[in-house]
């Protein structure tokens, strides 16, 4: 079991090419993954997350910085020497062998006694839910079962310290994806093994991991529990990326205690503006659709909007709202409303923005 740490890690693929002005695939990365935890690296394609994983596994030596496992510098060690197992997008198994022999293979290579191998394989097969399939040729299995075998081959060895999963559900039939996702989570908990799961899919990351690192353009944007990322995003990017629909991010201007948005104003309490400490500034207001209060009737202090799109989500509706007269096509706000009330395109609604939920960002960072 292992605590994994990246310290000041940067990587450029261009150093080898001798270019002077370098593009960094990963830049100034400092992360600690604690022993026995489930973690995710979440970010859009090309953000550098697979490069990070390769640095952790030892497939890649970083241009700068160190990798530590349990406090020991492993930067120069190979994958094998780091005792890290990997699961890739495509199941890596021997199609000509049955399930038992696939799972036993790494142990046979270690020349363990037969009885010991049998005991270990049965134990892992039980955890994976494959105990009844040990004699089955792997060619007869579906993609989810095959992927479980790739995982099993990694964790069957006693000396495996951590497991890295690189988009492991990509080739799994959509029908089985949810089930396998849940099983991976349960297996991780059962084995209490440090796991890092790389994905561009928020759903997979937030479900699997206790701690999610959001990565964008080679940089760590924010790391935290799903709840922390949702309720306390440090940037508009995380606010929008986490949650469905994402946080509303609206351009604003702060002057004194007044937040001026396109065509309407919100007065902030002094306690907030004191905390912000900036008198006069361009900024962005962030608020989640489920935090805005949507009224059918006009009351003092509410802000009128026109309903543009109504999406029925089964137990609630999502309204997309525009300012009247369509003066600014880009100013759109989404709100979550109850399922019972009827809304039609063109209806007027009146919004309240409860102060307790307001987030204020400046230059892509949260200032309140």
């Amino acid at each position: 079991m292992a605590r994994i740490e990246l310290k000041d890690v940067s990587h450029s693929f261009e150093i080898a090419e001798g270019k002077e002005k370098l593009e960094w695939a990963v830049k100034d990365m400092n992360i600690v993954w604690e022993d026995g935890t489930a973690n995710a690296l979440l970010g859009p394609s090309g953000c550098g997350k697979t490069t990070m994983l390769n640095i952790v596994s030892g497939l890649l030596t970083p241009s700068k910085g160190k990798v530590y496992i349990d406090g020991k510098d492993v930067t120069e060690l190979s994958t094998r020497e780091r005792h890290i197992a990997q699961v890739f997008q495509f199941p890596v198994i021997y199609d000509s062998m049955n399930v038992y022999n696939n799972l036993a293979f790494p142990l046979v290579n270690m020349k363990l006694p037969k009885l010991k191998i049998k005991e270990k394989v049965r134990k892992i097969a039980k955890i994976l839910g494959l105990i009844d399939y040990l004699d089955t040729p792997t060619s007869k299995l579906n993609s989810a079962e095959k992927q479980k075998i790739s995982l099993g081959r990694g964790i069957v060895r006693d000396d495996t310290l951590a497991i890295l999963l690189d988009e492991p559900l990509t080739v799994i039939d959509p029908k089985m994806r949810g089930k396998l996702r849940r099983q991976l989570k349960i297996i991780q908990r059962e084995l209490n093994i440090t796991a890092i799961y790389v994905t561009h899919d928020q759903h997979e990351a937030l479900t699997f991991a206790d701690k999610v690192a959001v990565v964008k353009a080679g940089r760590l944007v924010q790391i935290g529990s799903p709840h922390e990322l949702y309720s306390n995003p440090e940037s508009p990017f995380v606010g929008y990326f986490i949650g469905s629909p994402g946080m509303n991010i609206l351009d604003a201007k702060l002057k004194g205690q007044t937040l001026s948005l396109n065509g309407f104003k919100i007065e902030l309490s002094k306690s907030i503006t004191d905390k912000i400490g900036i008198e006069n500034s361009e900024c962005q207001l962030g608020i989640r659709p489920e935090e805005i209060i949507t009224n059918r009737e006009k009351t003092t202090g509410t802000i009128p909007f026109e309903v543009a799109i109504i999406e029925n989500m089964g137990s609630y509706k999502i309204l997309t709202l525009v300012r009247k007269n369509g003066s600014d096509r880009n100013l759109r706000i989404k709100t979550r409303v109850d399922i019972i009330t009827s809304y039609f395109k063109g209806d007027m609604v009146y919004l309240e923005f409860p102060e307790e939920y307001l987030k204020i960002f400046k230059d892509n960072h949260k200032i309140y």
Binding site: D173, P174, K175, R181, R182, K185, I186, R189, H200, D201, Q202, H203, L206, T207, S225, P226, H227, Y230, S231, F241, G243, S244, P245, G246, R288, P289, E290, A308, I309, I310, E311, N312, M313, G314, S315, Y316, I318, T320, R336, K345
Partner: protein, 371 residues
């Protein structure tokens, strides 16, 4: 006016994919065929569009009461969007969107084409991308280009085959809303949409058909099929997340009838429903939305749930927990921390129960009766 299909069969070799399907759609309908992979929804879409012919025999397809069964897809004036974004890689976004107009039989002037392309691009938020090549755009934009090419032709009937399936969740969410808005302007034609995603069907459709083993198990307006799914298969699939099912017994105590889950949970049956219930055993269907970690109504049943797994889905939290030996799935409409292994109070709204016949798998009634 609209589309009508009658007694359509379709087989591939010995395999019967569509089994005697008859349906009717009116202008203005947004129809979704909802089903898991391999249930025949794409085939049904293709048969209606004219990309496949029904098996020889009685099967007929009518557009505006004209039999088009043997008319080729090219002469039908329809548009089609596929799951894979099919665009011309060597053409710009503008040229891609304009391409269907350039090959069209009714020649349009360059000026007319330009006006149309820009209109559609605006509708799908592609105005800033027109000079780019498809490879320079994101997956969501590529699919929007493909949709723009379908819309630009102004055809009366548009067919979409799982257009969001290959997009990740954030792009799906964005494009779904955009489709909803785009098609709200198109009230004179019919949109037919095949999907495996219950949320697509729920958000976009006016009507939904659920396919099961090549048959239409239920076809109804959205409200009806979602709130009154006639079969367990429909209820289970057309729920997001999937519906919970519990075996219950109908018991009589004094003069009242109860549905008994356990000794602790007995739900009194309203007098009005008593006549409908004449068997001993039923299946109780409960959507996850009616099972929550906080109180919903004053009649809520409160149970103790052992949290087994917590999944964050969008802005909701799905709670997999055990009540005694029953695995149940509940939902919190927030993102919250729940410790796995903890026992928490769970609130269930009994008015939201569905009662299904165990043998026929048909809906008997809803606990709150008919609305």
């Amino acid at each position: 006016m609209g589309i009508r299909i009658k007694n359509v069969n379709k087989s591939f070799g010995k395999h019967l994919v569509l089994d005697n399907i008859s349906l009717e759609f009116k202008d203005g309908d947004f129809v979704s065929f909802l089903a898991p992979t391999g249930s025949g929804k794409t085939t049904l879409l293709r048969v209606i569009a004219g990309l496949e012919k029904p098996d020889k025999g009685q099967g007929r397809v009518f557009y505006d009461d004209v039999d088009v069964t043997n008319i080729s897809v090219r002469e039908r004036n329809i548009a089609m969007v596929y799951q894979d974004f099919i665009n011309y890689p060597s053409m710009t976004v503008y040229e891609n969107i304009a391409s269907p107009l350039k090959v069209s039989k009714n020649k349009m002037s360059a000026k007319e084409i330009d006006k149309k392309v820009r209109e559609v691009a605006e509708l799908l938020s592609l105005s800033d991308m027109l000079k780019h090549y498809p490879s320079e755009t994101s997956g969501g934009q590529q699919q929007r280009i493909a949709i723009a090419r379908a819309l630009v032709k102004d055809t009366k009937y548009i067919f979409l085959d799982e257009p969001l399936a290959n997009l990740d969740y954030k792009l799906r969410e964005e494009l779904r809303g955009q489709l909803k808005e785009t098609f709200s302007y198109n009230k004179k034609g019919i949109i037919i949409y095949a999907t495996a995603d219950p949320l697509d069907a729920l958000i976009l459709s006016s009507h939904v058909g659920f396919l099961h083993h090549g048959k239409i198990l239920q076809y109804d307006i959205l409200d009806k099929i979602y709130n009154y799914p006639q079969y367990i298969e429909v209820a289970s699939y057309f729920s997001n997340p999937t519906m919970n099912f519990l075996e219950v017994n109908l018991v009589k105590e004094n003069n009242d009838y109860f549905l008994k889950v356990t000794e602790e949970i007995k739900i009194k049956v309203d007098n009005k429903l008593k006549d409908k219930l004449n068997k001993k055993e039923y299946l109780l269907g409960i959507r996850a939305q009616a099972i929550r970690p906080n109180r919903q109504t004053k009649n809520d049943i409160i149970i103790k749930g052992l949290v087994e797994l917590v999944e964050v889905v969008g802005s909701d939290t799905e709670l997999h927990f055990k009540y005694e030996d029953f695995p149940l799935l509940g939902l919190s409409q927030k993102i919250e921390n729940y410790q796995i292994g903890n026992t928490i109070d769970i609130f269930i709204d009994p008015s939201k129960f569905y009662i299904f016949d165990k043998d026929t798998k048909e809906l008997v009634c809803r606990m709150e009766g008919e609305k």
